[in-house]
């Protein structure tokens, strides 16, 4: 997995609460192999009409959002279905960071497996960032995982701050190293085997 250290990227705001993973990637695309790439399908039905023609006005399609790496969203982003394809779509479209007041738990966990960093900031600060980005299209945010900071928006004189964000130590450690979690866990094989011997003796019916 690609390690995550710092990202200095163009940010784009999405002013919608409860963006579920069906919106991020509709179910009818999920059979496609991972290798085919999901970037072009990101938010597909919000960006296309029933006939498949582009629908104007979606924030990610604004010229200033071209090449954006940071998404600033609303509460409960990524709720709903466990589909990891939602993270694949964001990552394949070039996103490295999603900032929101809260996330769907499974989506939040899936992000870390794919080098995408989900950041929880207070609701008021997220709203402030989205407003600043609306006033300053194409403004950048700098995210430092080791320091656990979001800095910006930079390049504009509007709403600037340095925010610290929380992240669980194990997730931070694996993401900073770009470490494969299965390989990491297999280093604990002896502990797993010992647990299983005890567990099998206690619950032989399983």
């Amino acid at each position: 997995m690609q390690p995550f250290t710092t990202v200095d990227g163009k940010a784009v705001a999405l002013d919608m609460p409860n963006v579920d993973t069906d919106q991020i990637i509709p179910a009818r695309f999920l059979w496609r192999p991972r290798g085919d790439g999901y970037g072009g399908l990101l938010f597909h039905d919000l960006r296309h009409d029933a006939g498949g023609a582009p629908k104007p006005g979606f924030p990610l399609d604004a010229p200033a959002a071209e090449g954006a790496a940071v998404l600033v969203a609303e509460r409960n982003f990524g709720c709903g279905s466990s589909r990891e394809h939602a993270v694949w779509a964001l990552a394949d479209a070039g996103m490295r960071v999603v900032i929101a007041p809260s996330f769907g738990d499974i989506f939040y966990s899936n992000c870390f497996k794919n080098g995408l960093l989900p950041i929880v900031l207070p609701e008021a600060r997220c709203a402030e960032l989205r407003a600043a980005l609306a006033r300053n299209p194409g403004a950048r945010l700098i995210v430092d995982l080791a320091e656990q900071t979001v800095t910006g928006p930079v390049g504009v004189n509007d709403g600037f701050a340095i925010d610290r964000f929380p992240v669980d130590p194990l997730r931070r450690e694996l993401l900073l190293a770009g470490e494969d979690e299965i390989g990491f866990t297999r280093r604990h094989e002896a502990a797993i085997a010992a647990f299983e011997a005890d567990y099998a003796a206690a619950m032989p019916w399983l």
Binding site: W31, A50, S81, L206
Partner: protein, 468 residues
Amino acid sequence: MTAGRSLFDKIWQRHAILTRPDGAVLLHVGRHLVHDGSRAAFRQLAERGLTLHSPSRTFATADHYVPTAPTAEVAPHRQEMIAALAAHAATHGIACFAPGDPRQGIVHVVGPEQGITLPGLVMVCGDSHTASHGALGALAFGIGASEVAHVLATQTLWQSRRPGSMRITVEGRLGNGVAPKDVVLAIIARIGAAGGTGRVIEYAGSTFRAMSIEGRLTVCNMSIEAGARAGMVAPDDTTFAYLAGRPFAPQGAAWERAVAYWRTLPSDADAAFDADVTLDAAAIVPMATWGTSPESALPVDGRIPDPDREPDADRRQAMRRALDYMDLRPGTPVDAIPIDRVFIGSCTNARIEDIRAAARVVAGRRVRVPAWVVPGSGLVKRQAEAEGLDRVLTAAGLEWRDPGCSMCVGMNGDVVPPGAHCASTSNRNFVGRQGPGARTHLMSPAMAAAAALTGHITDVRTMLAGGA
């Protein structure tokens, strides 16, 4: 003095293989369910050249991509997903319920039905509605494809922190025509679609004690729609009676030993919870959603809210967007919302009690709109047919189909036409969930059946009383 332990605490602590100084826990997974959407995880395993860690703890059934009409022509990409599951199951030596096997069905119907789901277990599945299995006193939650691959390879899962806890207590008797689905919709309306985020919910109180396992499955199933990691109900005699004799449940002397252990699992009287919510069962009435988040559930005698009265700007905008998508106007009575389609099925409401509830409402009457009943498994289908429910339903004009996720998920060919309002017993009313442009109204099987008869959302209590 230490505080008492909750059901969740007991299962969590029992399955912690190791705890890091930073609080991260390596959790053992007792049983793992996979389905025909799990192909990516098996591929990850193959790419790493790894074998399956615990074949006997892994169970497979096809549900997401299967057709639910015997005559349906299955698109090649869907056939490929179904075939891939059978092939991976054969390669790794996993018990697999493929189409044609009477045990095949929706993974969250099959697990309990087969006795794969047991109290005190950690159970996972690459599907967000895995919380369902908490109805039997398991700690069960959904995971993504990478985590599925991790469980396949190691039979463990990292939890970087202990989830928070929430106890939702409902006391009292439910009124006539009020179903477990109404209870969980009322809960979500109360705490919101993110009300349980980061938490495990324990459903407590006399209402759940009196509820059947199937009812508890419906409630726990929708925990995720309140944002919760998991939902669970303490195992009791109802649980043990349900499980006794099921194929993958313990038998004989092992059964006695298992029950003795399961009786130690309920939360201690002095167990602490991070949050407590209480509802009065007598105040819960039949519910339906009007919007595009399950939190938009309203009592059937309510009216669609007015965004102009919503003080929060973002919420106001979200309400307007939902009204626009649903083509509805503020102030409209819920029971005036038109219904063009009805879907009775899904991992939330496709069990025998759900089908009985629908049949009871439509018996001797005639539906006005196209309505499907999709049983949750081959065994549910067989049971319903043995009871003659299929004949009651088809005589009323409903379509009786084959088991699968069907119209809940919009990926198997079963979809609601664009623009149509669908009364659905499923769990999500998200934009496009049941097909592009589909407008979903979540409700109980009895309420969906009532809507099928009238062509609009209808208080099923008027029908049970012998009304129109």
